[in-house]
């Protein structure tokens, strides 16, 4: 088993880059949407066979045990090669959670199938009546003998149509003094009877989400991860890294390259009024890169991300929208055209970034919630 950490950073980067360039399919590079499991499964298995599917996992669990700085290199090269985002919640969310909070039996049962691409995980957090106010969730799990019986509904579960399993927050104590205290974290097989899915199309017409209904879903008592009613603590620990992921410059940068294409195609860079606004966005993007780099450095040094990482999500996702909006404007009449549009031999889907930049300010804690967090936990402004 190779000790990847023993290799120098540059040599490691070189090897990763070469592999990504040759092994990843050209037609799946730089897509503006998330990949379906059927599209990306071959690549998932390629990585798994190479032993590269879980960079952060320890070796004894089948991971690469990469140092933080080498994990960043892999992430950077993944972006650079335009590799689409796979259903990676098993690797990034569930696996680490089970390793930290799970029983030995859970580790045996769940970790290997994640590496092998047999289990695909989705997240069951949001509910129709608890969007921003996640802790108010109502989906309940009641113990009956050796099972929990789950009733309720989850919504906005991305890619749930492809998932075999769901990690889910459920209410296990309605009488807890604080609503955060009555929540548990469970693991659920999506084939359990009583689970139904209603796909939800997004504004761009893609089936991105589903609402998932639970009607007396009986799941074994060992579905519980950690202690009963400890679920909120587990969920919170996962959030910082999620925000770093959402705050990556990847999506704004991709929208910017489209903007640049359209601007060139239409000769707008010679228009100083346009060029001035274009320059401001380029500058905003460069600053985002630097801000992201600062947080990545923190991870690289092995430090924990504080609540201030929320500003990365705020800036990144609002910049994404601003770029997408100038793109629409730059296209003039073609800014209202659906699908790929021709600009001087470049095909650009003008509206895709406009649509796809919308949820970034809503999900993962809306930007309003992020501002509340920063005001309270970073700026120490009073609650009342």
């Amino acid at each position: 088993m190779t000790d990847w950490n023993a290799i120098g950073d540059d040599a490691f980067r070189e090897e990763v880059r070469r592999f990504f360039e040759t092994a990843y399919p050209q037609e799946l590079r730089f897509l503006p949407r998330r990949l379906r499991w059927s599209e990306c499964k071959p690549w998932y298995l390629t990585l798994a066979r190479k032993g590269w599917i879980a960079p952060a996992w320890p070796k004894e669990r089948g991971g690469m045990a990469l140092s933080p700085s080498k994990q960043i290199i892999m992430a950077e090269e993944t972006e650079r090669a335009g590799i689409g985002r796979m259903p990676d919640q098993g690797i990034t969310q569930v696996g680490p959670t089970i390793m930290r909070y799970g029983t030995e039996a859970q580790k045996q049962k769940y970790l290997k199938p994640i590496l092998d691409g047999e289990h695909v995980w989705c997240q069951g957090y949001s509910e129709p009546n608890s969007g921003s106010d996640l802790a108010s969730l109502q989906t309940s799990a009641v113990r009956e003998g050796d099972v929990y019986v789950i009733n309720g509904s989850k919504i906005w579960t991305s890619m749930s149509m492809d998932a075999t399993h769901m990690y889910i927050l459920v209410r296990t104590d309605r009488n807890a003094p604080k609503k955060q205290e009555g929540i548990s974290f469970m693991l659920l097989d999506m084939t359990t009877p009583g689970i139904t899915l209603r796909p939800i199309r997004n504004i761009a017409g893609h089936e991105e989400f589903a609402q998932v209904f639970f009607d007396n879903v009986r799941t074994p008592a060992d579905s519980l991860v950690g202690s009963l009613n400890q679920g909120w603590t587990i969920a919170k620990a996962l959030l910082g890294f999620e925000r770093l992921g959402i705050g990556s410059p990847r999506r704004p940068r991709y929208a910017f390259t489209r903007l640049e294409k359209v601007a060139r195609g239409r000769g707008l860079l010679d228009d100083p009024a346009f060029a001035d606004r274009f320059a401001q966005l380029r500058l905003d993007l460069a600053d985002l890169n630097s801000l992201y780099g600062r947080y990545v450095d923190q991870v690289r040094r092995g430090e924990t991300l504080g609540p201030d990482v929320s500003i990365l999500k705020i800036w990144s996702m609002e910049l994404y929208q601003r770029i997408a909006e100038l793109l629409v404007e730059a296209a003039d009449e073609k800014g209202a055209f659906e699908g790929d549009v021709d600009f001087d031999d470049e095909e650009v889907d003008v509206l895709a970034p406009f649509y796809m930049s919308r949820p970034g300010t809503i999900y993962g804690g809306s930007n309003e919630i992020q501002r509340n967090i920063v005001a309270k936990d970073v700026l120490r402004l009073p609650g009342k």
């Binding site: 949001s126 009546n129 608890s130 969007g131 921003s132 106010d133 108010s136 919504i155 906005w156 939800i200 199309r201 997004n202 504004i203 017409g205 989400f209 239409r266 009024a273 346009f274 929208q321 909006e325 629409v328 404007e329 296209a331 003039d332 009449e333 073609k334 800014g335 209202a336 055209f337 659906e338 699908g339 509206l351 406009f354 919308r358 949820p359 300010t361 809503i362 999900y363 809306s366 309003e368 501002r371």
Partner: protein
């Protein structure tokens, strides 16, 4: 939420009420969704109902079966129908095309076509644009060869609004040093029409003219008249597109305020959160600015169409309405949260309509430039 009292006449208020009444009766979001992306994108039977109410001929002289009303009234109809996203292409046909026809000097052809437009029997579309971002009338690449009692057209036109259901097109073309307008029925050999899908589910027409031959009497107007007819019709339709944007943004703001009042999170309605309240106020400010800018533009084209300040007023209204419409609809998604991002939510339909209307007949950047070029120092 009450509008500022804007001093509209009772007649205009009554017209607005009857438009709202018709809209409620004749359409709903299911019908809007049904026609999305399906040619022609609207309902010919309902079009005739609208004609019977006088709206397709609202601006036409009485001798052609019209109501001879002004843009103040047309704005009420456009705005009211836009509030419910009525898919029928009223501004494209009854303003842009009908006015272009009406401003021409071919009395015979006008007398033949305009009464049929007023009656809802004929749907016409104006085909003059060739390049994105260029609304000028001066130098089309499309060519008209005249001679032997006929005119032969060669070239291409793009972004033709209302093309999907049009029975014929008013086509601009270069003839020598000048520009002519020619009436081209949809079935003319040599004319082909492709439809390009737009965000709002409607279509932009892409016309190819390959040796399309028309009799000489189809020439609607020669050089100077053609050009000024075009410029004026485009200007008038621009103001009506702004009126549609106002309808779209007002309805979206109402929906959003309703949602803010009723959606509960953290044990209180989200409309009680000050950050959202202040943002809602800023949207309201933009809507009210759009409303006053539109009112100015409407009086300008009604009362002083030839005044040099009119172009600035028109561009000011379209710039403000495009910006405000885009902002309000985008913020409506944000304030509705994830639900606003779904295909099922009506919010998305309003967002997409605002996208199309903003881009049509010059977006805000275009009209800001035009405003700067036409506004004199005292027009401030």
């Amino acid at each position: 939420m009450a509008d500022i009292d804007d001093g509209r006449t009772d007649e205009r208020r009554m017209l607005a009420a009857s438009v709202a009444d018709f809209a409620r009766r004749a359409t709903d979001m299911a019908r809007v969704r049904k026609w999305r992306g399906v040619a022609p994108g609207f309902d010919r039977a309902l079009w005739r109902e609208m004609a019977a109410l006088g709206w397709t001929g609202l601006l036409l002289p009485e001798r052609f079966g019209g109501m001879a009303l002004g843009f103040a009234e047309m704005a009420e109809v456009s705005r009211g129908l836009a509030r419910v996203l009525m898919p029928e292409p009223l501004v494209a046909c009854a303003v842009l095309a009908a006015r272009a026809l009406g401003h021409c000097d071919n009395e015979a052809l006008g007398a033949e076509l305009l009464p049929r437009i007023a009656a809802g029997e004929l749907i016409a579309a104006l085909a003059w644009q060739e390049q994105a971002g260029d609304l000028g009338s001066r130098a089309p690449v499309t060519e008209a060869a005249l001679g032997s009692g006929r005119v032969v057209l060669n070239g291409a036109k793009r972004f033709v609004a209302g093309a999907a259901g049009a029975d014929g097109f008013i086509v601009s073309a270069r003839a020598g040093a000048g520009v002519v307008l020619v009436w081209v029925p949809a079935a003319t050999p040599g004319l082909s029409v492709r439809l390009e899908a737009m965000a709002d589910g409607r279509f932009a027409g892409r016309l190819e003219l390959a040796d399309a031959r028309l009799p000489e009497k189809h020439i609607l107007a020669p050089a100077e008249i053609a050009q000024s007819a075009l410029d004026r019709a485009v200007s008038e339709a621009t103001v009506m597109a702004a009126a549609e944007l106002l309808g779209v943004m007002s309805r979206t703001l109402e929906m959003t305020l309703d949602y803010l009042r009723t959606r509960v999170q953290f044990g209180r309605s989200i409309g009680s959160f000050q950050a959202l309240q202040h943002r809602a106020v800023d949207l309201y400010v933009q809507e009210q600015l759009a409303s006053v800018a539109l009112a100015d533009a409407v009086s300008a084209i009604d009362d002083r169409p030839d005044d040099p300040t009119t172009a600035a007023a028109v561009s000011r209204a379209k710039a403000r309405c495009s910006d405000a419409g885009s902002l309000i609809t985008r913020q409506a998604i944000q304030m509705h949260g994830a639900i606003g991002f779904t295909e099922d939510s009506d919010v998305g339909l309003y967002v997409k309509r605002a996208l199309t209307l903003s881009a049509w007949l010059g977006n805000s950047a275009y009209h800001r430039r035009r405003f700067a070029a036409t506004a004199s120092a005292d027009a401030q």
